[in-house]
């Protein structure tokens, strides 16, 4: 076949593609006009990029505002590091990151962007240690780990599940002698940064030694804070990109022995348990919304409005909080908002972003707990409402504290969620007893297999027979159990009124697309026949 013949044959298809694209574009713009006509102000579509840690919450909010108000927001889950870069380069209208720009003691030289920006917390949550462990054919759901053991696991100091350090944390489990497979993030991630900040502050001995092993130079005397978790080749560590990547790896049936750090919601979604982490009060706790809220009472928020890091967090005292209920690895996630009309940000986009901000600071927070996050407290909601007013073009409807209906709000200004948080049962105390109740997305309890005192009798729950998620006994804390109430407020749903023109153009676009996808193969078949005839021998066959 000659080149020209190929071009001639491809030509109708090319033409068809171009025409159908054009028609499709007309159809879409027709739709866009319709939704614009409904609202008074124009809500331009906006694009965001960043954290996968808080993505489950963001994507739910984005779906909700699209269903209720037709505000088009696209969020790509690319990791905090790329989120910050995309915002700095102007390719995203907003970024989402666990850590601010140019964080202290960092291995990476992250610089602040040239465009004007402001930070705003979007949601709180706990970085959970999701694991896949099976003893005697039954999924373990009540693993407990001290911070030091976690540090040893993620720095390769201990490599087998029957290590004495893990046994000491879990007296009622007969741990198998299988290798631990620590699963870390391969992309630049805020969760990695949070874990490395925690390791650097709390367990510098192990973290510094690990830095030496992977050949990284220390930053200010200790191994640096990093968004890229380093691994030693052949050490049994596995790296995967994105929260879905690491959680998905751990959740595979062949990944017995794997453990990863990921936001609590991913463990709930995957139906997998998370390790209860030992806090400074000597209790093993789970990153439930309430435990996270208690822990974050100790977070130091930068309250200097003139600072470049206004509203950012310092979690040093959270790690050492002596409240029995506190979950040590709790943190806030941040959105990076543009505060000037630059890099393609327009007033119309500002309307969408400011309204979206107002939505998730109030209504959005109500779904945080069910999703596996923790709602923002009153001081951060108030500060956030001031931040969204800095968005150019925005005119957000700022709801009063009474109308916000946030589960943390109370009449006296204290954090209701933290105040009403239940104290952990005595079996969660460090010592010879161990609760049998499940955690995370695996609410079934675990039978005693080791020598220690089993606390299953205390809670009176039975071992889940089939091992599925949420097949559960009411003892579970947090998570999506069947009996949980979800608070909600009535929403008015504006109906998109479609005009005849819009319907007609959509129908035409559909018909043309169909026509152009069906026609070329038909035409091609006819062409093929003449070709055969010319060749002769094929026809005879």
């Amino acid at each position: 076949m000659t080149m020209t013949a190929r071009i001639v044959r491809a030509w109708p298809r090319l033409l068809a593609t171009v025409i159908s694209m054009a028609v499709l574009a007309v159809g879409i713009s027709g739709l866009a006009n319709v939704s614009q006509a409904v609202a008074d102000t124009v809500h331009s579509p906006i694009v965001g990029s960043g954290s996968t840690w808080s993505a489950n919450a963001l994507q739910t909010w984005i779906r909700n505002v699209w269903a209720n108000y037709q505000w088009k927001i696209t969020y790509s889950e690319s990791g905090s590091t790329i989120g910050r870069t995309d915002f700095a380069n102007g390719t995203a209208d907003f970024g989402v990151s666990e850590i601010p720009y140019a964080i202290a003691n960092s291995n990476e030289q992250d610089s602040r962007p040239n465009r004007k920006y402001a930070y705003m917390p979007i949601v709180a949550g706990g970085t959970a240690f999701m694991y896949n462990l099976v003893i005697g054919g039954k999924k373990v759901s009540n693993l407990r780990l001290s911070g030091e053991t976690v540090a040893k696991i993620f720095t390769g100091v201990i490599s087998r599940w029957d290590d004495p350090a893990i046994k000491a944390d879990n007296p009622s489990l007969a741990l198998p002698s299988i290798p631990i497979v620590p699963v870390v993030r391969s992309d630049g991630s805020g969760a990695t940064a949070q874990v490395s900040i925690w390791l650097r502050q709390m367990y510098p001995k192990y973290w510094d030694a690990y830095c030496g092993k992977v050949g990284r130079a220390p930053v200010n005397g200790h191994c640096g804070v990093t968004s890229n978790y380093p691994t030693v080749a052949g050490s049994g560590f596995v790296s995967r990109s994105g929260s879905n990547g690491v959680a998905g790896y751990v959740a595979q049936s062949h990944s017995v022995g794997a453990i990863t750090f990921v936001e609590y919601s991913y463990a709930l979604n995957a139906g997998f348990p998370v390790a209860k982490l030992l806090n400074a009060a000597g209790y093993y706790t789970e990153p439930t919304a309430q435990n996270v809220a208690v822990a974050l009472l100790k977070a130091k928020i930068n309250e200097n409005e003139n600072s470049a890091d206004y509203l950012t967090q310092n979690l040093a005292s959270v790690y050492t909080d002596s409240d029995k209920r506190s979950y040590p690895l709790s943190s806030y996630s941040y959105i990076i908002l543009p505060t000037a009309l630059e890099d393609g940000f327009t007033n119309d986009k500002g309307v969408t972003l400011a309204d979206f901000g107002a939505y998730f600071l109030c209504e959005g927070q109500q779904s945080a707990e069910v999703l596996g996050y923790s709602p923002l407290p009153i001081n951060l909601v108030k500060a956030g409402q001031k931040q969204i007013q800095k968005i150019p073009g925005g005119n957000p409807a700022i709801k009063g504290i009474a109308g916000c209906n946030n589960p943390t709000f109370s009449s006296d200004g204290s954090n209701k969620l933290a105040k009403t948080a239940p104290y952990p049962p005595e079996c969660d105390k460090q010592g010879a007893t161990q609760c049998a109740t499940g955690t995370g997305g695996a609410k079934e309890s675990t039978a005693q297999s080791g020598s220690g005192t089993d606390a299953a009798s205390q809670s009176g729950t039975a071992v889940g027979a089939d091992g599925t998620a949420g097949a559960a006994t009411g003892a579970g804390v947090g998570g999506i159990t069947s009996g949980q109430q979800v608070s909600g407020t009535p929403q008015s749903i504006p109906q998109a009124r479609l005009t005849t023109t819009a319907y007609a153009s959509m129908a035409a676009a559909g018909a043309l697309l169909l026509g152009f996808s069906v026609a070329p193969p038909l035409l091609r078949t006819r062409g093929r026949h003449t070709w055969f005839r010319r060749d002769g021998w094929r026809k005879r066959r």
């Binding site: 290798p179 391969s186 691994t231 596995v238 998905g248 790896y249 022995g257 193969p521």
Partner: protein, 335 residues
């Protein structure tokens, strides 16, 4: 005849007639358009190479010749090189080609020679459709489905062929009942299989087009001399289509080297040369770029550009090689 005798005089040298080409406006515009297209492609390629070269110079100057031998990737500590990522890129591509070549050859032979005409059209459509699936879909498929299915295969190979050094997995002891199958996940082998599924359709469609052009006279001749169908394919179709087989394979190799998303989703990146292709941990240049471009330092970006330049150069060499082989072969010259 060199001389022409004229009536009016002696011999005159024979001059060629001056050919004057008068092109119509449609011819001229077509020529301009095609020339412009050809030049634009060349210019773009040169510009891409230049861009990578200029942006990468800073890092290459700092790293010096160790850029090609250093395995670690820590540009902030000024200790970085492409040895490990380049090794990973090539192992993944070779595994992919080793799987894709027989697959593509078999597919092309069946479609072209054995399949009934009606089925042939369907199969061509299916193969083309396979080529059109986005690589992220292959990546997710590899990550969530293929990996689990391939663990027993990798385990079998390492148990019975572990005496071959590259098929050994030193962390896996076949006699240990508690051995974890996770040592076989995220390996170059699995990444190579995923990439093979992506390059096989491309290679197969090139081979199919070339096989279809095998001269009928020679085919009939072979059959007339008593050759079986398979004999005819071996003695006529394959020698004729050799250029297509090599060219398709090389084009597939070019794509396998540059594949990003699918590899990035499947592998567990490490910065060390890992000869054990069945064991966890490998890397590739394009995956490295995708994972690390988010870092803000200009120097690190320069290092990534330099790595990109290496990949660009290798891909160019392979594609030129493919073009060369195809042009010198009979089938290539005809098309």
């Amino acid at each position: 005849m060199t001389l022409r005798t004229a009536d009016n005089g002696g011999p005159q040298p024979d001059l060629p007639r001056r050919v004057r080409v008068r092109r119509g406006p449609s011819d001229i515009s077509f020529r301009v358009l095609t020339h412009a297209g050809g030049v634009a492609v060349l210019a773009l390629m040169t510009l891409v190479g230049l861009f990578l070269g200029i942006r990468g110079t800073e890092a290459i100057v700092v790293a010096g010749p160790s850029f090609l031998t250093e395995q670690a990737w820590e540009p902030n500590s000024r200790r970085f090189g492409v040895a490990a990522v380049l090794f990973g890129t090539i192992t993944i591509a070779l595994i992919a080609i080793a799987v894709a070549l027989p697959l593509a050859l078999g597919t092309a032979t069946y479609i072209c020679e054995y399949a009934p005409v009606r089925l042939r059209r369907l199969l061509v459509g299916v193969v083309d459709l396979m080529a059109a699936i986005p690589s992220v879909v292959y990546g997710l498929w590899g990550m969530f489905w293929l990996e689990g299915q391939m663990i027993p295969v990798a385990q079998f190979i390492s148990t019975y062929f572990g005496w071959i050094p590259i098929l050994r997995v030193s962390q896996f002891d076949p006699n240990d009942p508690l051995a974890s199958p996770t040592v076989f996940t995220a390996s170059a082998f699995i990444a190579g299989l995923v990439v093979a599924m992506m390059v096989a359709p491309i290679a197969a469609s090139i081979m199919r087009e070339v096989f279809a052009q095998a001269p009928i006279g020679e085919r009939e001749g072979a059959l007339a001399l008593g050759s079986s169908k398979w004999g005819m394919i071996r003695s006529v179709v394959y020698p004729f289509g050799l250029g297509g087989i090599v060219g398709g394979t090389m084009l597939g190799l070019g794509r396998a080297l540059g594949e990003t998303v699918a590899v990035y989703l499947v592998i567990s990146p490490i910065f060390a040369i890992n000869w054990q292709v069945l064991a966890t941990g490998t890397n590739s240049i394009s995956a490295l770029i995708a994972l690390r471009y988010g870092e803000a330092t200009p120097f690190e970006l320069s290092g990534l550009m330099a790595a990109g330049l290496v990949l660009f150069a290798i891909t160019m060499v392979i594609n030129f090689g493919a073009g060369f082989v195809m042009q010198r072969s009979r089938s290539g010259a005809a098309s």
